[in-house]
Amino acid sequence: MALLEIRDLKKYFSTPRGMLHAVDEVNLDIEEGTTLGVVGESGCGKSTLGRTVIRLLEPTSGTVMFDGKDITSVTKRQFHALSTQMQMIFQDPYASLDPRMSVAELIAEPIKVHKLTRNRAEISERVRDLMDTVGLARRLERSYPHELDGGRRQRIGIARALALNPKFIVCDEPVSALDVSIQAQILNLLQDLQQEKKLTYMFITHNLSVVRHISNEICVMYLGRVVEKCEAKELFVHPYHPYTKALLSAIPIPNIHIEQKPIPMTGELTSPINPPNACRFAPRCPYATEQCRSSEPALEEMTPGHVVLCHRAKELNDL
């Protein structure tokens, strides 16, 4: 049994012009101790997926089984107890930390909110442990976030997420704001923690070399739907979906001698508001046919563990 089983998950937002399909019929499993990378166009629903999975947002429909329990049907109160096991690390350590709280107070906050212990000595002991775990020097206890660099701030965010001993963490762009050296430090830290504590991650990012490095599996989203999912390295060697191919072709390579040719994506954008009954990528897809414009494809397994949402995936692969 996977630690997380997401079934037919939908999250719609109501807008003046109709329902906005932010997450639409998503099915995913995440095995304990592994990382699922989530990539896709900005606005395709990655953050909404992450938030809905840990019920920071109420799903429109569908279920999320966590460790065998359906967290979408439990009451708010029952969920409160479960919620300690599911945490989130945000992209922006600047915005997500209260500037008036010291490092120690910030890390103690979740412990206090969830009343893990009221004993002051125990709390400061736990805070120090957590600072050690994430590599924050103890002398920084009394510092405030604005006095620290981005890497250290992100370490505070990680310490806060770890404070309640979670099993599952949604990492929403945790390294996007950092320089490549600090990014490497934080990724190493996340990997060490995963091994030590058997943590399970959903890792949302736009950085494809990062996602390749950190993930076991990667899923690609487009306008609320998962359009491709497979083992991490496999995605780069054998992408099927035309959107995935466009995405991979646009990765900026840090080499001035490689001339990049991103596959151009032209054509109308499909609105996420009341999307038509058709492939959502069809208007921008160079291979779209009448079928693509008139019916929605279903996820199909191309090779074991590699699923694709495209009417023409098999056929295009044989070309």
Partner: protein, 328 residues
């Protein structure tokens, strides 16, 4: 200053005076960008990149910021001598900035489309409301957002969509200088490629100069002609992209390249630069990279090295490189 120079920054020193101490954010930085040229500015979080950008735009928060020295020429005029009012005009027309944080740059209570329309009208008051609105919708579509979302408010947009709106706004006034502070960090790579392409062609068309702050060497390789690497408020290496990518010389630059995860090689662990960021309130008298450097020697503690031209146009701030250059 050459005829073709769009912006020149000379000996910029900016400190933040806080209760906890003086943050030496920018320490004697000089550079220039030609018209039609894109310069990349890379370096670690907290190195002073945004502070440099804010200095040029006249947007430093006083207090706590204090500019100790510096001349900033845009189009031949020293911006540091301008009044607040004059600077405001310059910001609307001659120079525009795409901010790092898309959340704060948009007004939460005004519809996204109206915010773009406003800038377009400011730039070209002769346009009718309908014309300006039509242009705003075009700009939205140009950055990949469906025009029918014109009437929505910023909170209804994802982070990346907000950033695209901000880029559309910055481009709408067709400035001479664009400062883009991590403009595409929040974007996926396909939209990023489109936005970069759009900025490139516009910049080419209008001969705009651009200062591009980024952590992504891939982007630098793609659109910059020049690049400066900054550490602890100082430029430690600068040159053409060929210098920086093919012949990086400063140990910090080399360390950055070594930290990037590869797209084709598999490694168990990444290799960040060792040690922690230096404390900007307590910078050493000598090379500030000393305690993190794989090549440091006792000699490095004897003086603060100068930025030396090691080959035409390629500057490096490291005594070991200097020795190498002197010895030929």
């Amino acid at each position: 200053m050459g005829n073709n120079t769009a912006v020149e920054v000379k000996n910029l020193i900016v400190h933040y005076e806080t209760e906890e101490g003086i943050v030496e954010a920018v320490n004697n930085v000089s550079f220039s960008i030609e018209k039609g040229e894109v310069m990349g500015l890379v370096g670690e979080t907290g190195a002073g990149k945004t502070t440099i950008a804010l200095s040029i735009m006249g947007l430093l928060p006083h207090p706590p910021a204090k500019m100790y020295s510096g001349e900033i020429y845009l189009d031949g005029e020293d911006l540091t001598k301008k009044s607040l009012k004059e600077m405001q005009k310059i910001r609307g027309k001659k120079a525009s900035m795409v901010f790092q944080d898309p959340m704060t740059a948009l007004n939460p209570v005004i519809k996204v489309g109206d915010q773009i329309t406003e800038v377009i009208k400011l730039h070209d008051p002769s346009l009718s409301d309908a014309e300006a609105q039509k242009k705003a919708i075009d700009m939205l579509e140009m950055v990949g957002i469906k025009g029918d979302r014109f009437e929505e408010y910023p909170h209804q947009f994802s982070g990346g969509m907000k950033q695209r709106v901000i880029i559309a706004i910055a481009l709408a006034c067709q400035p001479e200088l664009i400062i883009a502070d991590e403009p595409t960090t929040a974007l996926d790579v396909t939209i990023q490629a489109q936005v970069m392409e759009m900025m490139k062609s516009l910049q080419h068309e209008l001969n705009t100069a651009m200062l591009l702050i980024t952590h992504d060497f891939g982007i630098v390789a793609n659109i910059c002609q020049k690049c400066a690497v900054i550490y602890a408020g100082e430029i430690v290496e600068s040159g053409t992209v060929a210098h920086i990518f093919d012949n990086p010389m400063h140990p910090y630059t080399k360390g950055l390249f070594g930290s990037i995860p590869s797209l084709d090689k598999d490694v168990e662990r990444l290799t960040p630069i060792k040690g922690q960021v230096v404390d900007p309130t307590d910078l050493p008298e000598y090379c500030s990279f000393y305690n993190r450097c794989d090549y440091c020697t006792e000699k490095c503690k004897e003086c603060d090295p100068k930025l030396v031209e090691v080959e035409p146009g390629h500057f490096v701030k490291c005594i070991h490189v200097m020795q190498g250059a002197e010895e030929g």
